[in-house]
Subunit: 198 residues, 2 copies
């Protein structure tokens, strides 16, 4: 069992389904490894032609609302999956931007290589279904919280859940993710720092 570039992604997919080593070999053979500097991986209007696993780096996914301001949908860090599921599968133009915030290494699938993978190793159907399912559960959760909880609680939950992200992205990105103004987030932080977290 020597270590390989695929160790992390193997562990990731093995969480839900157990694969034979020859199945993993097919998997590896179809992966397109690519490194990106700070750049756009997807822009509004383009069709998303990849689903990718973040092996290292950091990304943000956002869209621009009718007032022209950015709304951040999600961050991506190591061991997360990335892409616009809908655009990818329906091959329709996306309304999202996906941008790398750091140098980022991705393990990418195109619609074709994904199809090939599912054909050759149908067990991956389950992996991808579970990915979407977890994504759905997380999104629902965030929706409930954004409807029913005040900004300070949402911020506290955010830093508990993703403790590494605040050190890696500008604070106003987090404000956007939480759906509040950067000024207000700053106030919340000030209050928390003074009040000993309360």
């Amino acid at each position: 069992m020597s270590s390989s570039v695929f160790d992390h992604i193997d562990k990731n997919v093995n969480r839900s389904v157990t694969f034979l080593s020859e199945e993993l070999e097919v998997f590896h053979s179809l992966i397109d490894i690519r490194k990106f500097p700070k750049t756009f991986l997807l822009q509004e209007g383009e069709v998303c032609n990849f689903e990718g696993y973040i092996n290292s780096g950091c990304t943000r996914t956002y869209y621009i609302d009718e007032n022209g301001s950015e709304v951040i949908l999600q961050f991506g860090i190591e061991d997360w999956w990335l892409g616009d599921v809908t655009s990818f599968h329906d091959q329709k133009p996306s309304c999202l931007f996906i941008e790398t915030i750091e140098d980022t290494e991705l393990f990418m699938f195109s619609p074709e290589t994904k199809e090939e993978l599912l054909f050759k190793v149908p067990k991956f159907e389950r992996v991808f279904r579970l990915l979407i399912q977890r994504n759905l559960a997380a999104t629902q959760n965030r929706l409930f919280h954004s409807i029913s909880k005040p900004a300070q609680e949402r911020y506290q939950e955010f830093i508990e859940k993703y403790p590494t992200i605040p050190q890696r992205v500008p604070q106003h990105y987090i404000a956007s993710y939480l759906g509040i103004s950067p000024e207000f987030l700053s106030k919340i932080r000030g209050k928390m720092a003074k009040g000993g977290k309360g």
Copy 2:
């Protein structure tokens, strides 16, 4: 091609994948048709042991937050799918309530019958994946809007998108769905009625 109770659900699943009539027969044979009066289909703490297609009727799915107030996650009407995907698949206790608001007829699958369906007609993998995908897209959309749009716009979009629901459920359910207080929704409606919709 005589008409059957399954006409609507057949059309629903045929949207994304085309099935042979013998495949649909397997599908039909595994469906559990059940009628419910006003009742709970799922309560917090229970494991969700069904995924169901609403053939007729109306439901609401909600959870109760730490202040003890209900937050409505979604409504269900004819031709929609229902269930707690996460609880169903992981067989873990749900934190949701699912309640019928009207007499409701469901076409239900248990984990076992769903498994059997997927085994006998693997094409249904795709159907269910697309269902989750659409659910995810809708939830994401709602999240963006709830973050970036004022309540009045959200309400207007709601009645455009689901014109039949306001006639079927009490108004304060809609307020809860939109994440606002019932009083404020009432004010919005008052304003819209006066201002000729603006």
